[in-house]
Symmetry: C2
Subunit: 137 residues, 2 copies
């Protein structure tokens, strides 16, 4: 159900600690959540497989982020009590619905990153450096 209350900060409403924008960004704004949601797109995935899919993630952050997603009801955790214990993760229905808005964001990103890089170069006054090469004085 969708409340039609217009508290949208995108319409210029004042910030509140509990506003939807802040809540959702607190959730997906971290380094790994979106990547985990992506890595879980095709059903049950084991912990170790997840580690392999998400290159660069540490064990700690994978566990920690999965716990957060599970707590939010976006990810389901299934333990198979076998000899070497097997744990599989998958998106819940709610988790799957999150992929839509995330995809919209990603498509915006893909469509505009080029322009953004150009703008950054112009802003920095760089006349030659390749994009993504950031210099910090």
């Amino acid at each position: 159900m969708v409340t039609t209350r217009s508290e949208s900060v995108l319409d210029g409403n004042p910030y509140r600690a509990d506003c939807p924008s802040r809540r959702i960004l607190d959730r997906i704004g971290d380094r790994w959540t979106v990547l985990i949601v992506g890595a879980l797109h095709d059903g049950d995935v084991r912990f170790s497989e997840l580690r392999r899919r998400i290159e660069g993630i540490s064990q700690k952050m994978l566990t920690q982020t999965l716990r957060g997603l599970e707590r939010d009801g976006l990810v389901r955790r299934t333990v198979h009590p076998e000899v070497p214990v097997r744990v599989e993760y998958s998106l819940t229905e709610a988790g799957r619905t999150l992929r839509e808005p995330l995809r919209a964001l990603e498509e915006w990103s893909i469509a505009h990153l080029g322009d953004v890089s150009v703008s950054q170069d112009a802003y920095d006054g760089a006349d030659g450096p390749p994009p993504a090469a950031a210099e910090r004085p």
Copy 2:
């Protein structure tokens, strides 16, 4: 526009430092960017007015975040050389297009925050992590 299927992490592609998801999240994942984009929805807004609209933001973070958005070409900065100097900010065309995917995310948030809270309560209340209170296949 642009065909977007190259390397979407939402389709399970491996993480790379320059992947769109990471880039976009680095951009909007901070505490204030989305709120500023929202506060700029209705045209030219002065710095002081922006501070008033975004309750709780510090002067430093407002300036810093605006600089980042300007550098990315999402916000335009206009200085009016009057006696008390007047500076106005507005969204560029690119900045305006960002509102669409942000709105999608916010609407997801509004639609699901209730379920998320329920799931969190169940998770926190239960002895063991697996609640299975919010979802079933």
